[in-house]
Symmetry: C2
């Protein structure tokens, strides 16, 4: 390859050739910084080369540079994928081994593997941070769409909770140090350092489009991704085991015999008195740690996709957030949010009491609340989709990797919620269960499935539309004089370049009026008042959906688990399996709601 | 949207405008057939419109058509994804419910769901076949790379086996008809019709790039994909249950208590005598049915990706298969294949006897054979990768969806094999097992992981290279007179356009000799004999790897299950889990080997 590289340089023989050569070598090593612009004209004058040959040389060069880039991209893509596959599957085998097997492999072995992985990842992240701060060319572009503030904010929030969890864990395991492995203390210590470094790293670098050391960076990011996914897997497993070993009283716990106790120290007693409280406290913090790993994985994946990307800074129109534009949506949304939070508090209080009668009432209120919320959301989403149909805004053309990624993450994350809903539906229908509670449970699940489908369609349609104010230009009508001349032979000499306002009616299909996708010249006269009702309706719907999604995020994120409080799922499936389904599905559901809130805010702004 | 469409037509006012309008309407409805070429010159002469304005109109038109297409693509992409997610998750819940639950939901419920799904899919496939045969514009392009002969051949082979399985099933369940559900007979009947229709459909239409009714076709193909994946899931589950209920004698079967018997008719006796044989026979055919579903899924996915695609028929060079070019590779490969098949027969005979001593010897021979094969393959792959490094062939530039898909399927399918290997490694290391057998088991697993990584790299690198005969042009050297003039001020007037042969040595980096990526003028003089050793070595390696992959395909495809015959995996993990891992991983492993054979053949031809 180096041969080809060198050989192409011969097309240039004046000073510029050396500059190009340097740039090219740099490209090979990992630079993609735009090379110093070729001073082709002076060079060719000096040599008497005609422009055509020079241009050919330049084309060859750029073709070669593209090829070198693509080749390097393919190689490092392949290498980093292989690393990920290997780390993940090995980790998966270890996690499975540590759960199911009784003696030979245990949580300690898994934790040693995780410690090694975490140290390696932390070291790479520190190296990356130091390296990019020293090199000017390392990051030339930032992807303004990557690492949005809700993602970074969520990361910090969940990171803090994870740190508290690690502190509790350390304090707890110190009490067992006299009779248990020291690895159990080392792991949370290493993990907390990892969380600190990673949060700092992702906060600073989430938007980076790395140009230097691309191979190493791709592998490092995939290592980060694998580590986070393995930590996620380990945390989900540990939480599931915890729940299976200490099941609710009313579930017959014959299935938990195969599963080992979380610590495995049945004969080992804690040396200080705070153990019981600490253990209970840190299990409450597990869901936040699980979310943290998911957030970090998503951000590492976006960074990996952005390595070597040359962002063309397309003109970002400043989108203003004017809350006074809308009224009904936020008002209804706030009422829903208030009512929802009220029922959430009642639910938590009633369920905590452990009285079955109280619990059923609490579940009933919870289901009714959810049914109302989800139904209203579905109806307003359908209205929103109908407005899109009427709406003449252009679709965003061209490929946008960040948008595709956003859409992929949205659909991917919704699978978690879908899974829980369908499993519930099958359980309720399969049991043939009667009664209000079961009917409501079924209704909520069915409506949630519909709501998820509709909301996905609404958000994705919204993200694919051009912002409204651009549309104002594009919807302006101008009359093509030549057409009129040909059609009616009327005198249209006084009409060239005339602009008329858009009428969203069939009248526009009259052949003498033509929408030009972009007004060719002159300034169009945007007529905002005609479109306002559509824009306003869309904004109202977005605001309402946004607030409802916040509600549906808060309820599971802060601990409501109707899936376990209603015992139908645990009775229908094996308890272990149900725990696994809920513990894997719910964090994705929470992520989905947060992602939806952010996407709906974007749709709100562009509408 | 229709408004915008109509409005753009006004740019054209002579006859051609009507033609374009028709084409455009067609595009909206689903046609993407290239519209009748615009007779712009006569039209503009007639109207006196200057060419620039005409061109602008044409651009607007094509932009709009592109936008309409993209919008429609996005919508149907979204819709078909949502359908798939819903069908798959509902199916997943039903499968899980039917496995784990004891009374309320059973195999019958699942089969009713599958019957409905299969009938729907069959109906769509028949509709599609009839519709496309009647409409001329339905399929304008064929993707020559999709649905290669190995895939279609494999589909037919596995389809026949699946049909035999269904016949056996029907005959078996007829014996239970007096005391069991009739659904158990209906399901195989419907499934066999489905297999016949689907095999015909995929054989004929696997290469189609559908242009008409794209929305419906996308949804139909995704339905086909979902149905096949669900049938695959159901078959894997049923086979796993079968293996768990009738475990090998030496595995303690305490874990199987939760799992129901496959038929669930313990009190129901067969009314004819052939039942026992039939049941044994059709369980042998399950793996073929599982493979069939995987093949059909892969083909449906490729068709889905190709809907609406406009294939630019890039010049396919006729690649000739000349087996006499190579000798060593095929010879060593055939020796390996013969030896491997020999040990396979010994293995099957010895294991069948059920004598533990015999079984250990058989396993020993099997592992030694595999170690030798995998080691030789790894070494030759490393040699191949080294040759690629030396080799100056260009990388294929530009995106090719079929190639990306091929690469994705290759890496994706290899995950199955990776999983089994890593689970085995963890089991052997975790048990701390001593002895030759365990050491060999560990060695084979480790070497297979290495071999898989290397082979993936080798195949993907190979697929991304331009065919060698193109390279002959590109590797020819010509001296750029201007460069020499500038560098040494030598008299080079007698050299313009001189061609020199490539030397694959550092001498090429001397700045006076330059490889041009494409010879600019005149006919290059390809010098084949110099590059022959590289081409030949690559071909030898490909042929060897190809034969070894055939061997590694035959052994598991025709029934060798060392994963179960060696009890370490089943003892280390829960038996249920180990069965699931092997039953999910192995079919992907078999698919991977077949895919590798096809890809290696392609690399062989292009080398």
């Amino acid at each position: 390859m180096r041969n080809i590289m060198n050989l192409t340089f011969g097309f240039f023989s004046c000073e510029s050739s050396k500059m190009t050569a340097k740039a090219e070598m740099a490209a090979e090593e990992g630079y993609i910084s735009p090379p110093p612009t070729l001073p082709s004209t002076p060079c060719s004058i000096h040599l008497g080369v005609h422009a055509g040959s020079m241009r050919r040389g330049s084309n060859v060069l750029s073709t070669n540079r593209g090829m070198v880039r693509e080749r390097s991209r393919n190689r490092s893509w392949l290498l980093s994928s292989i690393i990920t596959v290997n780390v993940l599957i090995l980790g998966c085998a270890l996690v499975s081994g540590s759960v199911f097997n009784n003696v030979k492999i245990n949580a300690i072995n898994l934790q040693i593997f995780l410690i090694l992985l975490v140290i390696l990842t932390t070291a790479w992240m520190m190296y990356y941070t130091i390296y990019t701060s020293r090199e000017d060319h390392a990051v030339l572009y930032k992807d303004s769409h990557a690492g949005p503030v809700w993602l970074r904010g969520g990361l910090v929030l969940f990171g803090i909770c994870s740190l508290i969890m690690d502190v509790f864990k350390i304090a707890n395991y110190v009490g067992y140090l006299h009779c248990d492995s020291a690895v159990k203390i080392v792991f949370p210590v290493v993990q907390s350092v990892f969380i600190l470094v990673q949060t700092y790293f992702l906060w600073l670098h989430a938007k980076d489009c790395v140009q230097l050391q691309r191979n190493l960076t791709r592998c490092g990011l995939m290592l980060t991704l694998s580590t986070n996914l393995l930590l996620w897997m380990a945390a989900v497993t540990e939480e599931s085991i915890h729940q299976t070993v200490v099941p609710p009283e009313d579930v017959n716990s014959t299935h938990s015999c195969d599963i080992r106790a979380p610590g495995g120290y049945s004969s080992c007693n804690c040396s200080h008195s705070a153990c019981a409280i600490l253990e209970k406290a840190y299990y409450y913090l597990y869901p936040f740690n699980i979310e943290y790993s998911l957030f970090a994985s998503a951000m590492a994946y976006v960074m990996w996709k952005n390595v070597g990307r040359l962002v063309d800074e397309h003109n970002h129109h400043p989108l203003h957030f004017r809350p006074k534009d809308v009224l009904v949506g936020p008002a209804v949304g706030l009422v829903m949010l208030g009512a929802g939070l009220g029922t959430f508090v009642i639910y938590e209080v009633d369920v905590e009491k452990g009285n079955p009668g109280k619990r059923d009432t609490a579940l009933m209120i919870h289901y009714v609340m959810n049914t109302v919320a989800v139904t209203l959301m579905s109806v307003s989403t359908v209205a929103g989709c109908a407005i899109y149909r009427l709406d003449q805004r252009d679709h965003v053309s061209g490929k946008n990797p960040t948008r595709s990624l956003d859409v992929g993450l949205l659909i991917g994350a919704s699978i978690g919620q879908f899974t829980i809903c369908y499993f519930t539906i099958v359980a309720v229908v399969g049991t043939g269960a009667k009664g209000h509670l079961n009917a409501l449970n079924l209704a909520v699940s069915l409506l949630t499935v519909i709501q998820l489908c509709l909301q996905n369609i609404f958000i994705i349609e919204g993200l694919h539309r051009e912002p409204f104010h651009e549309d104002m230009h594009q919807a302006s009508v101008f009359t093509n004089p030549y057409v009129l001349q040909a059609q009616a032979h009327r005198d249209i000499h006084n009409l060239p370049g005339m602009f008329m306002e858009t009428k969203p009616s069939p009248a526009l299909t009259v052949p003498s009026m033509h929408v030009a996708p972009s007004a060719p010249s002159g300034s169009p006269l945007p007529q905002r008042h005609r479109l306002t009702w559509k824009r306003r309706a869309l904004k109202e719907i977005c605001a309402f959906l946004l607030l409802c999604n916040i509600l549906l995020w808060i309820i599971p994120a802060f601990g409501a688990r109707p899936q376990f409080d209603n015992t139908i799922g645990a009775e229908f499936y094996e308890f272990t399996m149900w725990v696994a389904v809920v513990n894997i599905g719910l964090p994705f559901g929470i992520f989905y709601r947060m992602h939806s809130v952010a996407s709906l805010f974007e749709v709100f702004l562009t509408s």
